[in-house]
């Protein structure tokens, strides 16, 4: 069965012989095999209820304090050093607040809201105690103790609330079947990808020759092949600082992958992997590069490590873009502003500026 599709704006008919319904059918079958679960009636059904002990304690603490304030306000007043007869209504109201927070904390799967509610309650309590200390007839020593107790609980409340707030959704990290990008905060890997409009063989052959690397890797001054799959890499560095190493190709699968790792380097260990595959629909070759830099010990190593650790992904992406230009066009494309290093307006660089460029 042939289906026809018109690609927007191209004015060309694209014919495909793939039978679309059959594909949909395959998918449906695989889902039908799965165990059928009853429909959830509340979003919390999806969430494993795993509250930590501190949060649970604070929930029960709220209930206890709330019950005492509602049903025995005089006893509470006595305990914290208030004149018994004056504050019963206010204490009962605070008790209702505590009960609400307690129930919320103990019953909600993720009681972020109710924990922050406790934090606000603590602030109100502390302010009330302060007011009471300034009033006549209250026991200041007892009130001070009460303030200390509230402050202690408040600290727990703040810590617990902030943890709940910063926690990702309870479902996070529970989907190993889905695609994830590298975490640039925790992984020391920088990765970038680009699609080159050439067959995979041509792209792979370009990468086979390390002499090409310095042409598009902005940080490299030169990369020279030596012997036995080795090459010598030299980084563009400020005068006086020399960063260079030898790299050894450790894996080479034609038209699929090249992996190299640094050897005999004094400052830095690096491993790079470049992968090649034909893009879906034969629309060129997808080139993905990831490089891991691990600085070796010593102050210089640490300094260089920092240099590489902060090398933004954008820079590697730009490297790959220049690589694409080299393969598709044979040279790196220059605009008037980017033909010379540094900031330059979009006007022709002068002969002097062009001479000065590296």
């Amino acid at each position: 069965m042939a289906s026809q599709q018109r690609i927007a704006g191209l004015g060309t008919e694209v014919r495909s012989d793939r039978a679309v319904p059959a594909r949909a059918g395959t998918r449906a079958t695989s889902f039908a095999d799965r165990e059928v679960k009853p429909a959830p009636w509340h979003s919390s059904d999806f969430v494993a209820s795993e509250k930590d002990s501190v949060t649970n304690f604070l929930g029960w603490f709220s209930i206890g304090l709330g019950l005492a304030e509602v049903f025995a306000p005089q006893a509470v007043a006595r305990l914290i050093g208030l004149k018994e007869d004056e504050h019963t209504t206010l204490l009962r109201a605070y008790g209702v607040r505590e009960l609400a927070a307690g129930v919320g904390i103990l019953t909600r799967p993720k009681p972020t809201y109710w924990m922050w509610n406790r934090v606000i309650g603590d602030a109100v309590d502390l302010k009330s105690i302060r007011n009471a200390m300034e009033a006549e007839g209250n026991d200041r020593a007892k009130l001070k103790l009460a303030a200390l107790a509230v402050a202690g609980v408040a600290a727990l409340d703040v810590v617990s609330s902030m943890r709940l707030t910063s926690e990702a959704s309870p479902a996070a990290g529970k989907d190993p079947g889905s695609y994830k990008t590298a975490d640039t905060d925790t992984d020391s890997v920088i990765a970038a990808v680009v699609t080159v409009n050439k067959p995979v063989e041509e792209v792979y052959n370009f990468w086979k020759d390390p002499r090409n690397y310095a042409e598009f890797m902005d940080q490299m001054e030169s990369v020279h092949p030596t012997t036995g799959g080795r090459s010598h890499w030299k980084v563009k560095a400020p005068p006086g600082l020399s960063v260079e190493w030898d790299a050894q190709v450790v894996q080479d699968i034609p038209n699929q992958l090249i992996r190299w790792t640094s050897v005999d380097s004094t400052n830095i260990d690096s491993t790079g992997t470049v992968r090649f595959r034909t893009a879906p629909g034969n629309r060129g070759t997808i080139v993905s590069l990831d490089v891991e830099y691990k600085p070796k010990g010593g102050p210089l190593g640490a300094k260089i490590g920092k240099l590489f650790a902060t090398m933004p992904k954008t820079q590697m992406q730009n490297d790959l873009r220049r690589m694409k230009q080299l393969i598709e066009l044979g040279e790196v494309v220059k605009s008037d502003a980017t033909a010379v290093p540094g900031m330059h307006p979009a006007q022709p660089p002068s002969a002097k500026e062009l001479e000065a460029r590296p």
Binding site: T314, K324, V333, K334, D336, A346, Q347, P348
Partner: protein, 391 residues
């Protein structure tokens, strides 16, 4: 050489700058004979496009004579007279090979900047900010033209600069705007904005067989040109009447079959809507004032197309997505893929179907470019299109 440089918002100056040299092997250097100020240059002039720097040479509508070619150039030789398309396109990437020239994957060395703002990047453009590559523009005595084998079109004998200059941008842009409406016999097309691009959208809708064309603007001289030169049947002055109601009345209540936004990010409207967007834009709470776009969407006939050729830079507010979704509207857009249209439109000019020079209202020497910008921006002296002659 002398060149028109952006200095600061609402300040351009003609300065002495270095002559261009060949930087890439497929470059050509063109001695410019005619160059124009585009309505989209006013967005730069007014400071609405980010990443402009002091000293940037403006201009993306230019033509002239080839005076030098790089070592790999095969299609051009010194002495050829060429018009240069405004998008810079390499011809080798997937998008170029599929005729999406303004989406060239290789010609924007500052692609990463655009990726941050737009998700993905577009081609480089002459004289149109660092975001679009940082290329020197053509409101100058000379320009370096990259990918000389791909873009420039050789001008046949017997045609004047005025007749072919607008193949660089505004004629193809207007044409693509009309083409995106998928015009069928019997269709009514409405065009917002009767600047030069709008005029060519109107004329192109005619060329593509629209039965009726309705033009919308606020300047009587532009609406008059739309009626008398471009071929609009009816014009609406939105400051004198409710354009949406007028369009309903003129289309039997169903709305135009194709609605073309040839206005872009500095749209106007009388009353509260205009003030709302002006305030938000001036406080940088939205990049663009999308008033014409909203009206085009709200007016469009159910199931038909809104075509956006006015320039937008970033984010807009109060976008009527409900109208788009519930009424099965299609929105089509793009920086013009000029290379696709240059030859067919040149043929229309040769055939005498259209003479694009009808939009020209002012001619000046390059040194008067600042005056040209000023009067065009203020819409003084019925200014519509300024052509500069550098030599």
């Amino acid at each position: 050489m002398r060149a028109t440089c952006w200095e600061a918002p609402r300040h351009v100056a003609v300065e002495n700058v270095p002559d261009p040299e060949i930087l890439n092997s497929n470059d050509a250097i063109v001695k410019i004979t005619s160059t124009a100020i585009c309505g989209s240059d006013l967005h730069l002039y007014n400071g609405f496009m980010p990443t402009m720097e002091k000293g940037d040479i403006l201009g993306h509508e230019f033509m002239g004579e080839v005076v030098e070619v790089g070592k790999t150039v095969k299609n051009l030789k010194v002495g050829d007279r060429v018009v240069v398309p405004f998008p810079i396109a390499c011809g080798q990437c997937w998008n170029c090979q599929h005729e999406m020239w303004s989406l060239c994957e290789n010609s924007n060395p500052n692609a990463w900047m655009q990726e941050k703002m737009l998700g993905h990047h577009c081609s480089g453009v002459f004289g149109y900010s660092h975001l679009l590559g940082g290329y020197a523009g053509g409101q100058a005595e000379f320009a370096r033209v990259p990918f000389a084998d791909v873009g420039p079109l050789k001008v046949p004998e017997g045609l004047t600069d005025d007749q072919v200059l607008f193949l660089t941008d505004i004629f193809p842009t207007g044409y693509m705007g009309a083409e995106m409406c998928d015009i069928a016999p019997g269709d009514t097309i409405a065009v917002w904005g009767c600047g030069p691009v709008g005029q060519f959208a109107i004329a192109s809708a005619r060329l593509l067989g629209a039965e009726r064309v309705i033009a919308i603007d606020r300047f009587p001289h532009r609406l008059q040109m739309a009626r008398e030169k471009a071929g609009a049947d009816v014009t609406i002055n939105y400051e004198e009447t409710n354009a949406l109601e007028a369009l309903k009345e003129l289309t039997g209540g169903v709305g135009p079959d194709g609605c073309i936004d040839a206005v872009g990010l500095e749209s106007h409207a009388p009353g509260i809507e205009g003030w709302y967007d002006k305030a938000k834009q001036s406080m940088r709470w939205e990049n663009d004032r999308p008033i014409a776009l909203r009206h085009a969407i709200m007016s469009c006939r159910n199931g038909r197309t809104v075509s956006v050729i006015g320039v937008y830079s970033g984010f807009i507010d109060k976008f009527p997505m409900g109208a788009l979704m519930n009424r099965s509207l299609t929105i089509k857009s793009g920086q013009c893929h000029v290379h696709r249209y240059m030859k067919p439109l040149l043929q229309h000019i040769i055939n005498g179907d259209i003479d694009p020079s009808f939009v020209i209202t002012h001619r000046m020497s390059l040194d008067d470019a600042p005056v040209g910008y000023d009067i065009f921006n203020k819409k003084q002296d019925e200014c519509m299109k300024v052509v500069l002659t550098p030599h």
